[in-house]
């Protein structure tokens, strides 16, 4: 039972950055913008988040630094794709390449340093309940925040007028524009939200997952988050399932490596990436009847006057 508890705890920890980043990207994509730069924003968020926490000793300031860095990068993306109507796929790639370089530059001074990991919730007696206590009431703050974020995004998208307008922009920007909604401004906010989430997700890695910074520590998680959005059919609820499934694959392969099944460790490490490919194929195949993607996803919009 101890082992099961440890596995569930580590699955939650491994899933949280995926969930946060994917939630942000889901909002961005729902507004009709495909930002492929999640990996770049995450890795810069990781470097800035660690830097902030290392300099101040505060996890919260670290997280804010990550959010700020992610937002700043997403603004550059917005300026290009919304302001200059540049191809979103190419700009997203540019953002990732730039982000990987920037994070190396920013993080160079912190490599080898350690920080105190983010504190875990502890309610006397409640957290000590066997089996479920630590899983439900003993996580770090980010885990609860990520779930709150998903609920907030769900409420926003499906239960508010602003959410409806945002989805309208993603499905048909010409109609939304004709109705008088500021499509580009709405998309800019959606892109910024995605950037903030990616930055926070990146910051989670050095702040809570492993208490140090290594260059390239996101290791493709930004791309997996993008795949999760497709997996979820652009719905927040399914995102939670997807993120925890992927977290489980990541952790199970680590445990399998530890157990020494005689399978080379590299094959196990490749599992999350292979799983992403397989899941993308299965999901896309199941959806041959009609696409659930926002109809205007990835298309440029230049308002006419």
């Amino acid at each position: 039972m101890e082992l099961a508890e440890a596995i569930i705890l580590s699955v939650l920890a491994a899933s949280t950055p995926l969930l946060i980043a994917a939630t942000g990207e889901l909002v961005t994509e729902r507004s009709g913008v495909l930002n492929l730069g999640v990996e770049g924003m995450m890795i810069v968020g990781a470097a800035c988040g660690f830097g902030g926490a290392w300099l101040t000793g505060s996890t919260i300031i670290g997280a804010l630094c990550g959010i700020f860095a992610g937002t700043l990068l997403s603004l550059a993306f917005a300026a290009m794709t919304l302001g200059l109507a540049v191809n979103q796929v190419a700009t997203g790639l540019a953002l990732t390449i730039l982000g990987i370089g920037l994070s190396g530059l920013i993080g160079a001074g912190f490599v080898g340093e350690r920080i105190t990991p983010a504190p875990h919730l502890h309610i006397p007696f409640v957290t000590d309940i066997p089996l479920v206590g630590r899983i439900l009431f003993g996580e770090d703050g980010f885990v609860y925040l990520s779930l709150a974020l998903v609920i907030a995004v769900w409420l926003f998208l499906y239960r508010t007028r602003a959410g409806l307008v945002l989805r309208a922009c993603g499905d048909n920007h010409i109609s939304a524009h004709a109705l008088g909604y500021p499509v580009l401004r709405i998309r800019m906010f959606a892109v910024m939200f995605g950037g903030a989430c990616a930055g926070l997700a990146g910051a989670y890695l050095p702040l809570a997952y492993t208490p140090f910074f290594i260059p390239g520590m996101t290791a493709g998680r930004g791309w997996i988050a993008l795949a999760l959005v497709v997996f979820s059919s652009w719905r927040p609820g399914r995102l939670v399932i997807g993120a925890y499934l992927f977290g489980a694959v990541t952790i199970l392969q680590l445990h399998a490596q530890g157990a020494g099944l005689g399978i080379p460790s590299q094959f196990m490490s490749a599992l999350p990436y292979l799983a992403t490919v397989i899941v993308l194929v299965l999901i896309s195949r199941a959806r041959t009847g009609g696409s659930t993607a926002p109809a205007a996803l990835g298309t440029v919009f230049v308002p006419d006057r």
């Binding site: 492929l36 550059a76 290009m80 302001g83 200059l84 109507a85 540049v86 191809n87 796929v89 190419a90 700009t91 790639l93 540019a94 953002l95 390449i97 730039l98 982000g99 990987i100 370089g101 920037l102 190396g104 530059l105 160079a108 008088g180 500021p182 260059p215 290791a219 493709g220 791309w223 993008l226 795949a227 497709v230 080379p264 590299q266 094959f267 490490s269 490749a270 990436y273 292979l274 992403t276 490919v277 993308l280 194929v281 999901i283 896309s284 195949r285 959806r287 041959t288 696409s291 230049v302 308002p303 006057r305």
Partner: protein, 363 residues
Amino acid sequence: MQLVLEKRAERSNTIALVSPLIAIGLTIVTMSILFAILKKNPISALGVYFIDPLTDSYSLQEIAVKATPLVMIAIGLSLCYLANAWNIGAEGQFLVGAVAGSWLAVKTQGTDAGHWVLPAMLLLGAAAGALYALIPAICKVRFGASEILTSLMLVYVADLFLDYLVRGPWRDPAGFNFPTTAEFDPVATVPVLIEGGRLHLGAIIALVVVAAATVLLGRTIKGFEIRVVGAAPRAARFGGFNSKQLVLLTFAISGALAGLAGIIEVAGPVGHLQPGVSPGYGFTAIIVAFLGRLNPIGILIAGLFLALTFIGGEQAQIAMKIPLDVTKVFQGILLFYVLACDSLILYRFRLIFPSRQVSRGAG
């Protein structure tokens, strides 16, 4: 007063010519600021980056050596991008090509195999790269899975596979436990062009690839179909072009070129298979493709320029202790500016002065 973007009546050919130059200019300005922030003299840093490598023959050869894989991969990618197929996994196809070709080199090591080994290795590399690229392409045309994500995921898989081989079955027994194969035999090595130099046969192959791509795009029906499918998908449908087949074709070509570049790199400048045979060629080639505006000759020039930044970056690290990551930042910023300037080919900025009565609510 408001600054708005509006579509030009037709694409501006003047801007199309000067925009890469504007982009490079803006990048250099930005880099000077970055150097100043890093407390390095911008003028001397730029000198080390862009001028010094051009002044001695060793560096000049090294630029051509680095440009070889970049140009070959970027040519393939440009075909994909022209056809609106987004292969961003060239890095993985490069590694798989390197692995497949190396298999033959490892198996024939120490035998009296003749001069057929190298050509066979190159063929194997190209074939493996093409097959590996066909995985995301088939997932795309058959199941509608995003080729962007699948091709990228396969980069990590290829990287881990290579890592497994050189740490496990293919490790050089006499290699002091380093994760590398033994040095390839002479018959499994790409010959150098000048005795004692670094420039190798791959450079010639890259030039042939550039010429072939020029002919393909400018002189053949297939090339025309590739461009139409990307630029005007509706017109392509009316024209009866098979866009799925073109996705498969462009992915296969670009995978083959990336795989070929991979085995040439391993059998040429590196000489053995090891992790990290590519300093991110597959990703830098994306920048090369765009900077060269998806045109073979443009890609050749852009490839040489990006190769210059690799060499300049290495020299700047040695001479001025400028971190290597600056090169990646440089490449990312360059791609940003290239894309931004390209926007001005199709659009232009206009200042509009709305009269006060209309401006309210017209937003």
